[in-house]
Symmetry: C2
Subunit: 561 residues, 2 copies
Amino acid sequence: MSHPHPELTLPPALPDGGLRVVALGGLGEVGRNMAVLEYAGRLLVIDCGVLFPEDHQPGVDLILPDFDYIRDRLDDIEAIVLTHGHEDHIGAVPYLLRLRRDIPLVGSQLTLAFVEAKLKEHRIQPFTLAVREGQTETLGVFECEFVAVNHSIPDALAVAVRTGAGTVLHTGDFKMDQLPLDGRITDLRAFARLGEQGVDLFMVDSTNAEVPGFVAQERGIGPVLDSVFADSTKRIIVASFASHVHRVQQVLDAAVAHGRRVALVGRSMVRNMAIASELGYLTVPDGVLIDLKGVDSLPDDEVVLMCTGSQGEPMAALSRIANNDHKVSVGPGDTVILASSLIPGNENAVFRVINGLTRLGARVVHSGNAKVHVSGHASAGELLYCYNILKPRNVMPVHGEVRHLVANAALAVQTGVPADRVVLAEDGVVVDLVDGKASVVGAVPCGYVYVDGSSVGGITEAELKDRRILGDEGFISIFAVVSSADGKVLAGPQIHARGFAEQDEVFEDILPDLTRALEEAAAQGAVDTHQLQQVMRRVVGRWVSNRLRRRPMIIPVVVEA
Amino acid sequence: MSHPHPELTLPPALPDGGLRVVALGGLGEVGRNMAVLEYAGRLLVIDCGVLFPEDHQPGVDLILPDFDYIRDRLDDIEAIVLTHGHEDHIGAVPYLLRLRRDIPLVGSQLTLAFVEAKLKEHRIQPFTLAVREGQTETLGVFECEFVAVNHSIPDALAVAVRTGAGTVLHTGDFKMDQLPLDGRITDLRAFARLGEQGVDLFMVDSTNAEVPGFVAQERGIGPVLDSVFADSTKRIIVASFASHVHRVQQVLDAAVAHGRRVALVGRSMVRNMAIASELGYLTVPDGVLIDLKGVDSLPDDEVVLMCTGSQGEPMAALSRIANNDHKVSVGPGDTVILASSLIPGNENAVFRVINGLTRLGARVVHSGNAKVHVSGHASAGELLYCYNILKPRNVMPVHGEVRHLVANAALAVQTGVPADRVVLAEDGVVVDLVDGKASVVGAVPCGYVYVDGSSVGGITEAELKDRRILGDEGFISIFAVVSSADGKVLAGPQIHARGFAEQDEVFEDILPDLTRALEEAAAQGAVDTHQLQQVMRRVVGRWVSNRLRRRPMIIPVVVEA
């Protein structure tokens, strides 16, 4: 297995007849999935998603794939193929379409409906081509065959891309539930046929490659919900992902079975389920849905609230309910079900919600104490099936952190794929498929692109570092007006501090020293304001370090008058 | 079970002959454990630990129990009983001794050695009384019998406190490994005897009460280490907690078995293992330990590095090794073992370390893929044994978040403890044991006390909120000098911003508007600097919100000249 190395340089030109693959996101993180295929001078984009920030990226709203690699080649893009409707696969489409509005979007009916709803908020009306499993479409030089896959959202597709350089099979996100609710299984017969025909490069979801065995069935959650519902004598609140149509379906079915009615809570939940129901992916039994306003007029044991916030997002309904800060209230005897995974990094927030609900007297059922969630991604056991049925000539693990990619690569090798044909690439690494062999040939710059308020890409690591210092250490601004004639301090110095135990008062102590230091500096010929500012920074910095043991950001301003 | 309620008021006076228990930390969080027992006007403190901050507490070094409840009663304290040497049980002792230096510390030999090393750094020499299991000491009005318990640090003790009001048994932290490395099991014979004599209030560790079944044996980790060592042909790095003497023992033993030598890395690891070895808790085979400097002269397959940083702490050895920023380097073929739990909230940091090490080519073995860690806290199955052998008259779950306390309470009830004798209390809740019945009688204020640089308790929620705003949104300071005569702007306005995509430059756009707004305000009679500052804040705030979609902290300063 070839490890990506920091010493990788820009790649040579793609040889004639070769296929190039560059991921601009999703290889090294779980999110912002985006792969760019190039053949004969033309490009095909597969997915264009967002990544959600971690705590060391304060204030950041979203993280995008880095479009720089294709910024000058937008006109070469034949289409964006969207494998399914999750945010980490479609969320960055509006930002790419801002660069070129008429790139066609290709995907299944539900995927396109979700992305169109999102684009509407950005006031973009896209060009779309809806496809179904089994269908083949020629997108410029790329012949794309779409294959059904099973995932935690309906209507997900893998795509086989045929070019003169060979066939690439990209799974998107998938698992292999053999008895899914909608009967739409990952099409292993198509995988087998593609394998017979020859898959030259298999780009395969790595998210669960470290997890041994097989993902349990979605269908298994129904009986668990049923028994929790049967045990509940008061209100039931279920939280899950706003796009998890089948999970919501099972909640609706359980509600009907137990004579309860369901109110959907949360904008994205309401919007997505309206789409899913209109398109026939969600079957809403007659009369089961009620408006949130109608909840209070029903007895507690006839109510289910289906809401977002299962990851402890502070502004979502569930967190606010747990904080007793929402029109929906929870009390002793109520049951809350977190029918969702616990995404790493969200533990503290989720446990805060669980503790809050527990404190209010609710029973909290979650994946830690009941089988109310199954993953959407193939575990190691399922991946082994895929490798064996496909017998791909080359493998490129996608979608995951480095640990996931490496674990997936090891599985490929275990099934007999030669180690030198398993390509470990991170974002920006350039992989060429030439003469039937895939290899790393270089890398292009590929950074994190932060969306922050109205700024896209303006925030860099430097600003994030500033924010971390501001958040951890606070800041001090110092202001003085000095005479341009004799350097005497005419006004100030004034100190303003934030984030300190003792606010401005304690800093009074330093003012006489500061004035003295300024006037001494002026007396010694330091007349320009920049030098005087450095004097103020030094005096205050040293004092704060000694007295308060802190290293805040210090902004000194000297004005001459 | 009585849930704590926010409407609790200050408690009435403790009835004559009654016993009062107030936890000043540890009930509602995992950490800063501290309980205060009161009888006949005298106080006994059990444990005095720290809590480590979460991400929403930026810049905070440590969180202490709230000593306010006992601040005016320091002279009533007979002693501080320390159940074991973990930071969350001893870490706040220096801060309590700062208030009264001569409070006696009572604990086992190893516990006292660890706390004395810590106090030495604070330049405090304590009064101590070393005790052993089986021993009974009269501490003023409290007769204390010490009972051996098994935990993830040697020499841990439970304490039975006898008073005229009845007997309290406090477990400290414990589990019930039946074949511990040192043969020192949790003394269920003593528990049985105490039960026969009558335990009126059982204060019991709740940390793992949600976890079904039993904790696996520490001894089971040896064979796993052995097989990982056998598979390793290059360097081995093991990371664990710096106080986990038995884990380190097993690493030393595995090293000897495989012809390797061990360098301890990290100040606390070196210090604690020196203490443990000197006191006979750690058996160091001859010649197995080497200095870190000696590592480079040994072949890779003769080296083990035993270090801290298993929680992804950014400054610890392991994180720096993973970042390629440490004198110890890791490369292809090396093995890293994280022999530790993953404490909730640390996932992102730990996974960053695992990804970094994986990227460097190392094989990373951790509790997610091998049995290299067992917990130190009794699971539900073990707790049931305790309840059944003790048959306590009243139960008060301690040490845990609300969800843990509630789960532990449910176990007590399942074994037949009447629900009205299971007391659910959080920090500050006052529990009185009167006439053999424990009940909640009120609550005293009990906040989080933040250590931040040199400040203890100065930082409040208000400053933390400021810091979160600073970290998420950045700040803008605005300065202007105006004429006291006619309100004309003499110098400035100047804007300085940090944490923004566009730093100061973009703010140039607003300066003309700002000057105009100031002079208009002055013309309309707003002459005091406070009013002018509000004008600046409003103009800049509105502009930043509209143009940048941000809500930073804004500090306007107007000086008259």
